[in-house]
Amino acid sequence: MLIITRKAGERVMVGDDIVVHVMELVGGSVRIGIEAPRSIPVYREEIYAAVREENLAAAEAPGELPKAAEFPPHPSGTQS
């Protein structure tokens, strides 16, 4: 892993198209701005990991799933 030290206001280039801006440091947090081409989505790592895990779990489903007639009367979201 490449490790570089930057100050607030400085930037890092990743290839020709991706710019990482170190915006500000407040307490223990760093605000980062990322400019990337539209074709490259940017995610917070923990959300990426959670969604990846969920996608993998969904892909484990068997081919036969319950039909609507087998559902209980009220789906979750319509409960008061």
Partner: protein, 145 residues
């Protein structure tokens, strides 16, 4: 019109119209895959499937979120809004199947948006949106066991 044949591991041999293919420029998050098709395996509006056209074993159950979560809201970042554009969008959420209906979960945090044959799985920026939302109330779903 050209036809696609997919030897799906779950649904056997599928003959599809090529125009049904949905291109995912960025794939599904963490799964990749750039071409899928939506399969409706029953007429009862319960679950549909996003079947990969590249991997016969890769398919994810999806559902219309509003069927289960009437007040569901999708709030996209400006960048993602630009990606989707102004086109009419279909929204799906992936489903994690469980042994019992009470174990079924929907990923409300990362909906799949499909417009004009192009699909994106995007992060919903609305506050407090779960990755694993129960599709059915636990007590009620218990009756189905």
């Amino acid at each position: 019109m050209s036809t696609l044949t997919v030897e799906s591991s779950r649904f056997g041999s599928l003959e599809l119209d090529a125009s049904q293919a949905i291109q995912f420029p960025a794939g599904l998050i963490g799964l990749g895959g750039h071409a899928y098709v939506l399969l409706r395996t029953s007429d009862d509006a319960s679950f549909s499937w996003l079947q990969s056209l590249e991997d016969p074993e890769l398919a994810l159950p999806v559902t219309n979120p509003w069927q289960f979560f009437a007040d569901y809201v999708v709030d996209l970042s400006d960048e993602d809004t630009e990606r989707v554009g102004d086109a009419a969008v279909d929204v799906w959420v992936t489903v994690r199947a469980g042994a019992e209906l009470s174990d079924f979960r929907a990923n409300l945090r990362a909906p799949i948006l499909v417009a004009n044959g192009v699909g994106y799985q995007m992060i919903n920026e609305a506050p407090d949106v779960p990755v694993r939302a129960p599709l059915f109330d636990g007590a009620l779903a218990g009756q189905a066991a």
